[in-house]
């Protein structure tokens, strides 16, 4: 039975999640949970299983085995109910380039049945500092503007859980900082749970409350960035990332 919203122990709860593509286990018996309101970093080298995990959590891919619960609801059987309350943005997807920013946001406001959509759209455009681009074709935007418009789309339905797949990839440091600041502000104000995938370890240290490192689809380290760093005896989270990526080392939890 679904848990009552507001009484959740975990916004996301994953148990024994496995995704097999032929002989390859892209995700291999993964278990973790994310507390409500937490910014949770899902980290690892290319091919470690981060994107597949996010896709499994969003119901884009069906798992081979395991149990996924988002906001107390089971994925994929409660997929539509979950999708109404979550959202997603990725550096690797886009919005139709020949529609204006406002047209795109109007379409997604409709898909999420957003009430008072024009005011909501204006508020988000202002928050992410892209109001000037509202009537421009989306294809004419810079990558920084496009990222922020994608985030406007991701916040349209006031998501309780937000999945962000490398949202600041390809952004210059100034814009990346603005994006992080806006995300932190929204997270503080609305208590949204964020699952954040990134290769920028400095960003992860600044943003994430807890992190999970993956290698070959398995969890190899989990905890607060500071805690993982302390246990790894590395100088920086980037060194931890490199060691895991090269050797697949597991960092044991604190006893």
């Amino acid at each position: 039975m679904p848990e009552t919203p507001g009484r959740l122990d975990a916004a996301i709860s994953v148990t024994g999640l496995t995704k097999q593509f032929g002989d390859v286990a892209a995700v291999d018996g993964l278990s973790f949970s994310v507390a409500p309101g937490e910014i949770f970093g899902l980290l690892g080298a290319n091919g470690a299983g981060k994107t597949t995990t996010i896709q499994l959590l969003l119901g884009l891919t069906t798992p081979t085995a395991g149990d996924v619960r988002v906001l107390g609801l089971r994925m994929p059987s409660d997929r539509l109910a979950i999708l109404q309350r979550v959202n997603f943005s990725s550096a690797y997807i886009s919005l139709p380039s020949n529609l204006t920013v406002r047209q795109n946001l109007r379409v997604f406001a409709g898909l999420y049945s957003v009430r008072n959509a024009p005011a909501k759209i204006d508020g988000l455009l202002e928050l992410f500092e892209v109001s000037d681009s509202a009537n421009k074709a989306t294809g004419a935007l810079s990558s920084g503007q496009l990222t922020r418009v994608n985030l406007c789309k991701a916040f349209l339905n006031d998501p309780e859980v937000l999945f962000l797949d490398e949202p600041t990839a390809s952004l210059d440091p100034d814009i990346a900082d603005k994006v992080r600041t806006a995300l932190q502000k929204l997270q503080r104000e609305r208590g949204v749970t964020i699952v954040y995938s990134s290769h920028n370890m400095r960003e992860v240290e600044v943003l994430c409350d807890r992190v999970l490192f993956l290698a070959h689809g398995r969890a190899v380290a989990e905890g607060t960035p500071r805690d993982v760093l302390a246990r790894s005896k590395s100088d920086s989270l980037e060194d931890v990332f490199i060691a895991i990526a090269r050797d697949g080392n597991t960092i044991e939890p604190r006893a």
């Binding site: 995704k19 069906t62 539509l80 919005l95 139709p96 898909l111």
Partner: protein
Amino acid sequence: MISRIGALLLRYLYLYRRSTARLMGVLFWPVMDLLVWGFLTSYLEKIAAPRGVTFLLGAVIFWDIFYSAQQAITLSITEDIWARNILNVFVAPVRTWELLVATSLIGVLRATVSAGVLAILARLFYGFPLFAIGLPLLPFYFSLLLFGWAMGMFTMALVLRFGQAAEALIWGIPFLIQPLSAVFYPVSVLPAWLRAISLLLPSTHVFEGMRSALSTGRVSAGVLAAAVGLNAIYLAAGGAFFGWMLGRVREKGYLARLGMD
């Protein structure tokens, strides 16, 4: 539900409004087709068959109804793949049938605008009185629309599964069906073995019926019943195939790859 279907319709209408290529697909190419067949008809009437070949213009217009409906479903979703927007759509709380209803409605709109313009031009340029047939036209129109939707669902399912490798089918499937559908000639022209296959297509019965209606002014109930029955089978099969393929695509992880490649 209404909000989501409305939002999808809005998205596809914006697309037609802001894309020259898509607008050309609705009007320019069909009009060029009509002109070629119109002049050919005029020429044939002069040299060989006075008043006997105007049905060719009806065939061009009717074929466009099927083509528009099939293209509307496939191109609407393919545009989202090309725009790398497909994952945004699939992570929104949209039901599969809502997506299909929205794209099918775009098909109705596209087919109506396109065929309507062609019928008016055929009357103006060549004196072809398609509208004179009146109400009996409607069952043919709906029958081709339904078959276009069914083929659109089959095509789209293959594009979702095979990605870019299958995109040629968007235009290829109608051209595979056209010679078998007896669009420009009676089904009796086909070799016997091909005739058997041809009669399994609802479009064949529509075009046979259309030729008969143009010459006699009457619509054969048998022809219509065959078209309706076959359409019901194709629609059910198309919907089931689309749903099954979407499940396979999720299972294999192709959907996510399609949206990010």
